[in-house]
């Protein structure tokens, strides 16, 4: 199973997003500054938009989806029940897992944004996607929602998962680290080896690095373990 981006470029006005990369099974974390091109990359990788140049190739990928940054963009029906069915999942189970205590007939737009995000992310997690592309999956979620979402993502070891995020604390167990640098996708390497060269690192990781400490991975447990480590 492989996602290949071969010499792709996409221009908007004077700005360009470019990437040459191959994504193998595992969790790929993609970070970068605001406006660096993460969402554009996600759209290209999901084949929602076409590159001006280059090829996006799926090998052995039989199912794929993209989660947009804003959950309201995914709403296509007028009730939570219909919405769950539209993802191909059972409504009661999805609502229960998302921790939403609301009637199935409720209009999705009556939920708070965090609840809607939790519902959307939960519905996605109940399907076995070969390729899952997540654009800011943690925004609007409370810490319990973030922990649940990152836990679900961490378990996707045999599939390909791309996570574009600014999340600072509740990241999934990450196999490979990437960075968007002024529109150019840059491979930093496997985790934890790539952590020292991570320019857009989270606050907790920056604090650890400043003390010469390297966490074994990026989950909140890994960061706390590293901070509290008393021996090598």
């Amino acid at each position: 199973m492989k996602l290949s981006l071969t010499g792709i470029e996409k221009s908007f006005g004077g700005w360009k997003c470019a990437a040459g990369a191959a994504f193998s099974p595992g969790v790929h974390l993609i970070t970068g500054r605001v406006g660096s091109g993460k969402s554009t990359l996600a759209l290209l990788a999901a084949r929602v938009i076409r590159p001006d140049k280059g090829i996006v190739q799926y090998e052995g990928i039989h199912s794929h989806t993209l989660s947009f940054q804003y959950p309201e963009n995914h709403v296509t029906t007028s009730s939570l029940e219909e919405e769950a069915f539209s993802y191909g999942v059972e409504p009661d189970h999805a609502l229960d897992l998302a921790g939403i205590n609301a009637g199935k007939t409720l209009d999705p737009f009556r939920l708070s944004r965090g609840e809607l995000k939790a519902f959307h992310i939960t519905c996605l997690s109940l399907r076995p996607w070969d390729l899952l592309i997540l654009d800011e999956p943690f925004s609007a979620l409370d810490c319990r929602g973030k922990m649940a979402a990152s836990g679900n993502i961490s378990e996707r070891k045999k599939e390909i998962t791309l996570v574009c995020t600014h999340e600072q604390h509740f990241l999934p167990r990450t196999d490979f680290l990437w960075e968007m640098r002024s529109g150019l996708l840059t491979y930093l390497g496997p985790v934890p080896e790539a952590i020292p060269s991570w320019q857009s690192a989270t606050g907790p990781v920056r604090r650890l690095r400043a003390q010469g400490i390297l966490p074994v991975n990026l989950t909140w447990q890994d960061i706390l373990e590293a901070a509290c480590r008393m021996h090598d």
Binding site: G35, A140, K146, M147, H166
Partner: protein, 223 residues
């Protein structure tokens, strides 16, 4: 100072709450009523019963700068320069003053290269930054921010914080799910199912959340 008394609105039930000048973080689980309260504080919604006062006077619309949690819902105009000029034009500033403030504000915030762009070409994070600048550009008395920080990276968030600090707004209420950010605020309000569970300085509020994931990461990290 904002005072809330006997407030009943949708799922919110707040008998008495005082929000002091400075920056206050509003935290709580998804669906706890944070956005509902922020919209009341911004004067966008009106309480069905009870009252909200700002410095002893009933809160009226137009006093607050507001950043919506939905970045796409913040913009009234299609061009960035018009979006930034909007709050100043609504306050009847002269054309020269509007132009001067927009250019100066955008330059100081490092956003002047976006001025000629249309809002729909901005990334999610860029939309939030423009919304924030638009909210502070007329130096509103109070600033109400609904979880804009979840769309920003670590470095951009620091720049946004500088923008807020230099806004001149004497009272800022910001909803966040970043507890490290909340811990740096002067006050913290914890909402739970529409009621205030805790309110006070971070040193007083967060110890009661020590067994939850809401406890600030930096406090756990320690070093």
């Amino acid at each position: 100072m904002i005072r809330i008394h006997n407030l009943v609105y949708r799922n919110l039930r707040i008998p008495d709450l005082t929000i002091h000048p400075g920056t206050t973080a509003l935290i709580g689980r998804n669906g706890s009523g944070k956005t509902t309260l922020l919209r009341l504080l911004a004067g966008i919604s009106r309480p069905k019963s009870g009252f909200i006062t700002l410095n002893g006077i009933p809160l009226v619309p137009g006093k607050a700068g507001f950043v919506n949690e939905y970045p796409d819902k913040n913009a009234l105009f299609s061009r960035v320069s018009d979006e930034l000029a909007g709050p100043l034009r609504f306050r009847n500033y002269s054309c020269d003053e509007v132009r001067r403030r927009v250019l100066e504000g955008a330059r100081n915030a490092g956003l002047d290269h976006h001025l000629d762009r249309t809002i729909d070409t901005l990334s999610g994070g860029e939309k939030v930054l423009i919304a924030l600048l638009s909210a502070v550009i007329s130096s509103p008395e109070i600033l109400i921010l609904d979880e804009f920080d979840s769309h920003l990276d670590y470095d951009t968030l620091k720049e946004a914080d500088q923008l807020i600090a230099s806004s001149g707004s004497g009272l800022v209420v910001r909803c966040t799910q970043n507890m490290d950010l909340a811990a740096r605020c002067g006050g913290v309000i914890v909402l739970h199912q529409g009621t205030v569970l805790h309110a006070g300085p971070p040193e007083k509020v967060f110890p009661s959340l020590g067994s939850t994931c809401c406890y600030p990461f930096t406090w756990r990290q320690g070093r």
